[in-house]
């Protein structure tokens, strides 16, 4: 990439906004995923009786919906990021490209 193009993009406020927003959002979601996953693992390691408690009168335990919820959470959080990136961030990127390449 030519140096002047890089400088032009760097000075574009849209680029600064994109970089800050996306990086903040990405790290927050990463943190959320870590908390959910390691929270689940620590629950398994330290509070087995809680996960093995019956939900009602049947045999289904608290752990079952929690486990299912972790799987669904994983897919959803990926979806949330991709949705925002493919609409908001890509629109910003397009603006930046337009401004830089004209």
């Amino acid at each position: 990439m030519q140096p002047d193009l890089t400088t032009r993009i760097l000075n574009d406020p849209n680029y600064q906004a994109l970089k800050a927003k996306r990086s903040r959002f990405g790290w927050w979601l990463t943190l959320a995923m870590m908390v959910v996953y390691y929270g689940f693992i620590l629950l398994v390691a330290f509070d087995k009786p809680f996960l093995a408690a019956r939900l009602g009168t049947g045999v289904t335990t608290v752990g079952m919906p929690i486990g299912l919820a972790v799987i669904i959470f994983t897919v959803l959080i990926t979806g949330i990021y991709v949705h925002r990136a493919n609409s908001e961030y890509d629109a910003l990127t397009e603006k930046i490209a337009k401004a830089a390449l004209q």
Binding site: T6, I9, Y15, G26, T30, Y38, I41, T74, V75, Y81
Partner: protein, 573 residues
């Protein structure tokens, strides 16, 4: 559960998920007994092979340039690539291994599957689009973007080849065992068939054929598993509670038959509904979780799939599709595992004299296929399991071949001046070499316990490839020296710690129990730290002129990684 058993279990589990390798689960699959020749399964597999060979012929016509060979010319859509990535992940091992683990341990099986899934969001948030924006053919393109090419490429190619080698051997041994089991073929014949077909796909069809074989297999596997889960739920009137209740009853009955008093038998039966012995030692659990989570982000054959899509938008879509399919697939395997408890463990037709599964523990899903769909469906599922291994080894071989031809030959030896035709030729020669090596080692390792090989591949990917990739992309002060030294430290420490861990030192090498120097099941927590600290330390200490140039290059790299402006359009640039 003893530490050693945990280690073995973890070793086996590592195999289950991410890679087909799991079939490799030598420990798990054990020395499979040869079954009677299954002609239905062989017939269905033959149909799959003929179909994929036609695809290869079609792909060969499109595979003219190096870009076609490595990345299918960038013409794969996000949806297709998502299926292919999911296919790489939904190995025969995860299908057979996780459903078997659920059949044995119930809820514990769910814990494994979750471990395999949670790496994907992290890949999406931090790496997927940056990879696509910076890279062309291999992950080394990204890691070496602003650095001195030769040392970083040599490191990345070593990381790739070591991971690919361990994986391939594990796959080949797993393939031989599985096929002996499912088809009733001789071990060596199975290994040669896998090696030969894989070479044909990669040599002639390149990435296009490899991807389509993977997509077709993913669809067949998802369809087959969906059908099995549907039949199980249908039987219980779509009530999970009814399914769980019956499974607990069956497990209680088995415990009572083994001579347990009623109260103890009931407790043992109910134990499948909660966490059991999987996590005794939190350090092993977390270390193992890290290997899975971050190893995924450092596996070369997965990373190269991000270069087959045209842009960052499609790269993101592909991870979303992959995560969706993989999550869905793990829910299916959970239902299949419970189905196996209620349909397979209660049917003497599938059991041996001691009450174990005919053909070994990993046969849960296979017997369930027979129970819910008869002999034809059994053949279908067996054929899909074989196809799965084939598709994964093809992807692995392609990724090894591109490390040699693109990173070593074209960039290091020819200093980027190799012409496309020569590079393509080198990658084809490498494909043949890798194929022959895989077959020979696959046969040589037939009787070895190779369960540790896939754990090792994951640990290396998490401790060497991933830190270098992440730091080079996100940390501006990272330098060539830091990346190379830190990367090699991560590589060497993960290999050494695995060697002196119980799974290898005691189980495979046969030293006395308790003599292993490293007590935990996975080295990732430690070796990843060594890798990251190494990169950081040797980067900040680096005062060379090259370091100044590396740091100065960060801004331009960042602009491109964030915006994709100037990125390769994925085809013949």
């Amino acid at each position: 559960m003893s530490a050693r058993m945990l280690a073995r279990l973890l070793g086996a589990i590592t195999l289950l998920g991410v890679s087909a390798a799991a079939m490799a689960a030598g420990a798990d699959l054990g020395q499979a007994e040869k079954q009677p020749t299954n002609w239905t399964a062989i017939g269905m597999f033959a149909v799959f092979v003929v179909g994929t060979l036609f695809i290869t012929k079609w792909a060969a016509a499109k595979t003219k340039s190096a870009a076609d060979f490595y990345t299918a010319g960038g013409g794969i859509t996000g949806f297709q690539n998502g299926l292919a990535i999911a296919g790489d992940y939904m190995s025969a091992a995860s299908f057979l291994g996780i459903s078997a683990a659920v059949m044995v341990g119930g809820f514990d099986g769910l814990i494994y599957s979750i471990g395999f899934l949670v790496g994907w969001p992290v890949v999406t948030f931090l790496l997927a689009e940056r990879l696509r924006n910076l890279g062309k053919f291999t992950f080394a393109d990204v890691a070496a973007f602003r650095f001195s090419q030769t040392p970083v490429r040599v490191f990345a190619a070593s990381g790739t080849l070591v991971v690919v080698a361990f994986y391939l051997i594990a796959q080949m041994v797993g393939a031989g065992q599985l096929i002996k089991l499912l088809f009733g073929l001789e071990y060596w014949i199975a290994v040669v068939i896998v090696g030969a077909l894989m070479m044909v796909y990669v040599l002639f069809g390149g990435m296009t054929a490899t991807t389509w074989v993977q997509i077709i297999k993913a669809c067949l596997l998802l369809a087959g598993a969906s059908f099995m889960a549907f039949m199980v739920l249908y039987h219980f009137g779509f009530s999970p509670e009814a399914m769980f209740a019956k499974a607990v009853e069956v497990k209680t009955g088995i415990a009572a038959a083994a001579g347990k008093p009623p109260a103890e038998a009931a407790a043992q039966g109910f134990s499948i509904m909660g966490p059991g012995g999987f996590i005794k030692d939190p350090i092993s659990a977390i270390s193992f979780g890290m290997a899975l989570m971050f190893g995924t982000a450092g596996l070369p054959h997965i990373l190269m799939r991000f270069f087959t899509v045209p842009n960052a938008k499609e790269a993101r879509k592909s991870v979303l599709w992959a995560t969706t399919w993989i999550g869905y697939f793990y829910i299916l395997t959970f239902i299949i595992g419970f189905g196996a408890i209620t349909f397979v463990l209660t049917n003497p037709q599938f059991l041996d004299a001691k009450g174990g599964l005919l053909g070994g523990g990993n046969m849960a899903a296979i017997h369930l296929a027979n129970a819910v769909g008869g002999n034809v469906f059994l053949g279908f599922i067996s054929a899909v399991a074989f196809a799965t291994i084939l598709a994964v080894v093809a992807g692995l071989t392609l990724s090894g071949a591109s490390a040699v031809s693109h990173d070593l030959y074209s960039t290091v030896i020819k200093k980027g001046k190799a012409d496309g035709a020569a590079e393509l030729k080198v990658s084809r020669i490498t494909t043949v070499c890798l194929g022959i090596v895989a077959v020979v080692l696959g046969i040589a390792f037939e009787k070895q316990n190779i369960a540790f090989m896939v754990s090792l591949a994951f640990a290396i990917a998490a401790s060497a490839n991933f830190p270098v990739l992440l730091m080079s992309v996100l940390w501006k002060d990272c330098t060539t020296r830091g990346a190379v030294i830190g990367g090699f430290l991560g590589l060497v420490s993960s290999v050494l710690l695995t060697l002196v861990s119980p799974a290898v030192w005691e189980v495979t090498l046969g030293y006395p129990k308790g003599s292993a120097l490293f007590p935990y099941a996975s080295p990732a927590l430690f070796s990843m730290t060594i890798g990251f600290v190494g990169i950081w330390l040797f980067s900040i200490l680096d005062r060379s002129p090259r370091a100044a140039q590396d740091r100065a290059g960060f801004v331009a790299q960042q602009v491109r990684s964030e915006t994709g402006i100037g990125a390769s359009g994925a085809s013949g640039h």
